[in-house]
Amino acid sequence: MSSTAHGHAASVGNGHDAPAGHHHNPGFIEKYLWSTDHKMIGFQYLFTGMAMALIGGFTVYAFRMQIAFPGMSIPGYGRVTAGDYNALVTTHGTVMIFWVAMPVLIAALGNYLIPLMIGCDDMVFPRLNRLSYQIFLVSALVLISSFFVEGGAFGGAWTSYPPLSSKSQYNLTGVGSTLWVVAVALEFVAFLLGGINFVTTVMNSRAPGMKLWDVPIVVWMIVLASILFMASVGPLVAGAVMLIFDQNFHTGFFDPVKGGDPVLWQHLFWFFGHPEVYVVLLPAMGIVAEVITVFSRKRLFAQRTVIMTAIAVGIISFFVWAHHQFVAGIDPRMANVFSVTTLIISIPVAEMVFVYIGTLYGGSIRLTTPMLWALAFIAEFLLGGVTGIFLGASGADIYFHDTYFVLAHFHYTFFPIAFIAVFAAITHWFPKMFGRTLNETFGKVHFWGTVIPFNCIFIPLFVLGVRGDHRRIYDYRHFPDSMQAGMQDLRVFATLSLVVLLAFQVVFLVNFFYSMFKGPKAPANPWHANTLEWAAPSPPPHGNFPEGLPTVYRGPYEYSHPDRKEDYWPQHIAPEGA
């Protein structure tokens, strides 16, 4: 398995063949691997994230097949042992969150979009930016290398709770567990450098005339997400350092035998882990805001409200973390407080969804591929959010804790965030990124081939969870309560749906790479959008705006203005008579 995963990484990782259009003619390495251009760094993050998504997809295929057909030799992998199963689950979770969702949503899109959308030529600290990607790449390589060391990849779950994660006799992995912690810590350093860049660039390099309210929502969201990330990651890094000491130097930070406290790790982890949910949610929300305004030809309903609610979400997200620990032995009075804050945070998030529906209302909606993805995001994320209410209530959570209900719930939030919104972004900005157009028919086939199987995977898992299926079981045949009538059939159905979903990703990859080189040439502003990136040529050259940096005269969402013949009014077009 490991060699296959590595092979994918190598083949896609080398595919940085995006047109760059530098003024001078740099060599291959300088152009694709050692560039300080924000667009190229964005592509590096994007392609690395895509390669890592293949690893994440392959691991979930292997362990879901084990659940559906226990003990069988799995095509492309072989027999899954209990130790393998733990390593596969851990790798799936880790990779999908830290090496797919975060690099693609924040680093790739942030790097690519921020300078273009605020109308400047590059990030404020371009060399810091390059260093950020290089550290990120090293972190990915460290994680992949853990497959090849003795004992294999880390098997202590992506949340890495001690004592499971700190003692190798429990997690059955050797040096792999330390490599896992090191990889995660390195990755956070990379995103810290990126975040410093994002905040400084947006504060100091906006185009003349661009007030804070004129900054497009997606930029707001990525910057807010970076701030959330940087404010929450410190305690987790502290915990990671302590965990490395516990694993390798036999200290007792989290070891009850030596007077330590295992729940302390859970606090440090979830103090980061819960804001992390919003770190990836906010950029996804931003992408959806951009796409639905462009394709419903309407101003974003209550633009300032969206920004205010995003700030509110960010603040409240620091006060909800212990809802992950209701059964970990925390004080029930504390559980009550965290129940209340958890239910409170659903209010601003729901408000954003209402605002988006309000934007759609009365618009002239165009069902292009990006718009389909954006609409699917709203619908699917809503399901994820609503099921979260059950889990946030501490009483109900005692029953649901660690069942497939929890698993289905967070996949209904993370899949829309990390895939549906990302596909919306890629299909929306592809003409700008590569100067070519994606095929719409292929795009729609891929859309339906992803969204329908997605629901077919996770609706059965909700049902299984309500019937009491525990999520950390390798072979359900040993548990008669979990083998009642129909339960195994639901597991098989979910797994087969997963295989269908993975198969349809081939459609996307073919469409993506074919269109990148052979697709029809795209004009500068194919969607008739307002924001500044569409004022640059497609693809933008080094320096972004060859005719000089733009000046901003209005907000980003002036669609269907009554005094205009065209139904859009780009931010950089000077008003008549000015």
């Binding site: 810290l192 975040g195 410190g234 350092v241």
Partner: protein
């Protein structure tokens, strides 16, 4: 924003905070959260200790008095860096010498801390001997690493100042980082040593 006669809002942008300072401030904020995480972990761990087990019987007590001297040296160093900044902005040549003294005081702090560690290790306080030991070396060691990093930055600043090539950005950046190291120390001292 929706009014028909839109005013032209052509404003030359004066950044409120220069790039280098803003970047360093964001970095320091993230670093602060790193220390906050460790200090709160320490606080929780300490509050859960059974009566009479903190510090563990038989373990050496931390040298409060000699560390007070270190603390004073470090705080003085921070003040001197501020003085150097004032002198430098007025073009006063004494800035270089004041900065060198500040650097030396910072180095004295790190060396004395190292001597303290060696003594404590000899007395049997290690990372595995007790939770106090584990947290002591974790917190103080992390701070020491930051102090060394900040001293390197400050030394580089001094070198550039001597050559007359010091940029505002570098000076501000290394200053902010040094103040962070200086101000974090009293917090650690009061939490860990008492």
């Amino acid at each position: 924003m929706n009014s028909i006669a839109l005013p032209t809002r052509r404003v030359a942008r004066q950044p409120l905070v220069p790039d280098a300072i803003l970047g360093t401030l964001v970095f320091v904020a993230a670093e602060t959260m790193f220390f906050v995480g460790m200090i709160s972990a320490f606080t929780i761990s300490r509050s859960q200790a059974l009566p009479g087990t903190w510090p563990m019987p038989g373990q050496p007590t931390l040298p409060v008095a000699s560390t007070a001297f270190n603390t004073a040296a470090l705080l003085l160093s921070g003040v001197l860096v501020l003085v150097a900044q004032r002198l430098f902005s007025r073009g006063n040549l004494w800035a270089r010498r004041v900065l060198a003294v500040a650097w030396a005081l910072g180095a004295v702090f790190v060396i004395l801390q190292g001597a303290e560690w060696a003594a404590l290790l000899k007395q049997g306080l290690t990372m595995t001997s007790s939770r106090l030991g584990a947290f002591f070396y974790l917190l103080v060691g992390t701070h020491a690493l930051h102090a060394v990093g900040a001293l390197i930055a400050l030394g580089w600043t001094w070198l550039q100042m001597s050559k007359g090539r010091l940029s505002q950005g570098l000076f501000f950046g290394s200053q902010v980082f040094w103040y962070f190291v200086v101000l974090m120390w009293p917090v650690l001292y009061l939490r860990v040593y008492f």
